[in-house]
């Protein structure tokens, strides 16, 4: 019973944070110069006052800001995120249409980076004093320091244009209309470059973190115990050091998984991945207030969900927390 109320409390806090984010961003976005009507009028190549007034009235932008906020927030409370001014579709539909692509991309990048990052970090920690360990760390540092978009550009150049191994952009082959497994394969092929590009940086992060964490765990007493038992070094590394070293990485990864969703703008742009990051950038540029707020809402929601998920995983991984010890 106590758990239920605790979870409710947690959810309550999350809702408050989400609403606060909406209000904050509402004012932030409205502080930007220009409004969607001006943008649309600008694009039309011709305009007059009547056209602008019509647009603003239609969008409700003729109302004072607090009224607009009130209308928007009362809509949100009923899970109505409004209409995209520009795309003339409900915001929720637009976001839900794009969200899977982003989740696929970030999910893949996340798994790749976590898996390979931990493996590389563990190897580097075990070989801390050997050249191979230094090489791994050197590479990690290199990936860490290279601007993401630059890697993306180079990857397209090498693997798509020059070698023609992988598609340069997009989510699936246009016009191929694959179904079933063929479709899955098609999407997977399209996924490789963007996911690798996005994952590379985080892979470097996890590599470094795993190594540091493992080196610090290896100083702990229970590692001495394990050695005193006569366990083989590999077993000690895997079972004792790595498992304990992963705890801080779970926390970090949880934080970053949420951040990745909104942070994939660059990758999605370069690879024309039809995700939510790109949609956000476009919505911002077009002052599509409702859409932008909606995207922020969902990004924040994902961050919160990932944080909760992290907590759960942490609890599974660390028995001390489950039982209320510190």
């Amino acid at each position: 019973m106590a758990y239920v109320s605790l979870i409710l409390g947690r959810v309550g806090k999350a809702v408050i944070v989400l609403l606060a984010i909406l209000v904050f961003n509402f004012f932030l976005i409205h502080a930007a110069p220009g409004d969607p009507a001006a943008v649309m009028a600008g694009e039309a190549g011709a305009t007059d006052q009547q056209f602008l007034d019509d647009l603003r009235e239609r969008f409700g932008l003729d109302q004072p800001l607090p009224v607009q906020l009130w209308r928007y927030m009362s809509g949100v409370l009923q899970l109505d995120f409004g209409y995209s001014y520009r795309q003339q579709m409900p915001v929720l539909d637009l976001i839900l249409e794009r969200l899977p692509a982003t989740l696929l991309l970030t999910g893949a990048a996340f798994c790749i980076s976590l898996l390979f990052g931990i493996i590389a970090g563990a190897l580097a920690a075990m070989r801390a004093k050997r050249p191979s360990g230094s090489i791994i760390m050197g590479l990690a540092l290199l990936f860490y320091a290279t601007p993401l978009y630059w890697v993306a550009m180079m990857a397209v150049l090498v693997f798509s244009v020059t070698l023609d191994w992988l598609p340069a952009y997009g989510y699936s082959t246009v016009g191929a209309d694959y179904t079933g497994l063929a479709h899955v394969g098609d999407v997977a092929v399209h996924l490789i470059l963007p996911a690798l590009t996005l994952g590379l940086f985080f892979m470097a992060v996890y590599t470094r973190m795993t190594r540091t964490s493992m080196l610090s765990v290896s100083q702990q007493d229970f590692v001495k115990t394990a050695r005193a038992k006569g366990l083989a070094p590999g077993v000690i590394q895997r079972r004792h050091i790595l498992r304990n070293a992963l705890l801080p990485i779970i926390t970090l990864a949880g934080l970053q998984a949420g951040q990745m969703v909104g942070g994939a703008v660059l990758t999605e742009t370069v690879f024309a991945w039809p995700g939510i990051g790109r949609l956000m950038y476009e919505a911002l540029m077009q002052r599509d207030y409702n859409l932008l707020l909606g995207i922020f809402f969902f990004c924040a929601l994902l961050v919160i969900l990932f944080n909760m998920l992290t907590d759960v995983i942490y609890r599974l991984a660390d028995p001390r927390i489950k039982q209320g010890a510190t």
Binding site: R227, K229, D318, P319, G324
Partner: protein, 572 residues
Amino acid sequence: MSEPTRESGAPLLRIERLSLALPEGADRLYAVDNVSYDLTAGEILCVVGESGSGKSMTANALMGLLPSGVRVAQGRALFDGQDVLAMDELSHRALRGRRIGMIFQEPMTALNPLMRVGEQIAEVFEAHDLLTPRARKERALALLEEVRLPDPTSALRAYPFELSGGQRQRVMIAMALALEPELLIADEPTTALDVTTQAQILHLVKDLQARRGMAVMFITHDFGVVAEIADRVCVMREGKIVEMGEAREVLDHPRHDYTRALIDAIPADVVAAVGRPADVLAAVERPGGAIPPQRDGTQSTPLLSVSGLDKVYRTSGGWFQPKREVVALDGIGFSLGKGETLGIVGESGSGKSTLGRCIVGLNRPDSGEIRLDGVDLSALEGRALRAHRRRIQMVFQDPYASLNPRIRVGMAIAQGPIANGVPKAEALAQARALLATVGLDGGAAERYPHEFSGGQRQRIGIARALALNPELIVADEAVSALDVSIQAQVLKLLDDLKRELDLSLLFITHDLRVAAQICDRLIVMQKGRIVEHGSAREIFNSPQHPYTRELLEAIPGRRDAPAPVTATAGVL
């Protein structure tokens, strides 16, 4: 797997001219310098020394657990005829756990927090490719039974954090004994435990050793423990062996001054030691210091009176975890007279530290009164509280954590007066004088804490507490972290200062032997309550409460309690 082929009588372990070199820049060249000793099967050898004596290093070298940077400079360590130090990793690994077992000081950190106890024990068999997984589990259970863990079946499935310190140490022992090793190395296995638990563990080790006929290398700093279990003793100081011999021989007739000092620092008979810190110190320092007059606390006017003090700790639980409550203080009441030393004794979790913190004002009690000269401190706020607060100062436990590493010692002492309006120059001058009072030279004021030893730091801590001219000093485990010889010096300093400055002292400790040396009256606490209260002499001579009796009996080295006279009494 060669069966032991050594002829009977030949030592199981022979250390020959072993030297372990420290890395460059250490305070001396060798951690262990040209050390030789033997250990035969069925024998308990205690390696005794204070921190930094190198007593654990040899054991670590045997187990291949030397810290990085420390290397073998010369010598051999023959285990069953084979030089362990020259072995390749594979054969060495085959030895570890199987023929040599080891337990460590910190039961809290020596077990992997993420693995169940049963798995960790079973791992020992797995490491040496023995038994089926099922059989391993059964053996683990049997072992837990053997080390007398309550409810071994559920302990098997427990995570380390679910066990108490003593229980964890039992698990460690079970693990070390799993493969019935010929040699057990125990590195300060009881130091982190409460006295009562320590007694149990010592008993267990001795019992198991006797049943299995193993050799035990028991590393400790405590001659009380030596007296309790050792067959032979090897005393180390700064990497060298200063004395070695049969336990009884060394205890009764220590040949080396250092050994004598160590033994003397531990009163074998607490009753005899009551109120006699100067006597205790006589062996360490120059003889001197008058025997204090017997005082009765009730005769002096109460400086501090505490009544009805309650305190409950509540953890507010994250999501998923329920709130928890720990009763730290439960209706505590006592008074302390001017110039009196009151000892508060209890094991960990008894609430004794919370009591001290409530009195100095670091914690707020939930209810109850703390009156200083009749003024209720818990009712005061802000300025008035601050004005009263300076009258009670505290000496902390950890000499390393109680001084800000980035503040010069002089400034650290002067901070209090400065915060209370004394001009900086004056405060600093006063700080220098105080340093002299606690036995440090004036130049110390310009140095940083890390340039001082633990004992010196504790003196600085005392000087800091004195800087505000307090009337009451609360010393919370003020000597627990110090080596025994240093302990005695600090105790003497406290006692002297108390008398010179007419201070009252509230002395919080877990160590009855220490309490015996300095306190006029004692309070024994258990689980937040006062279970016994009386003059030190009364309590040691005729403890009323069973818990007090248990505590007294648990003191290591106190043989055949309550009989006061033993062979060691003579030296005191």
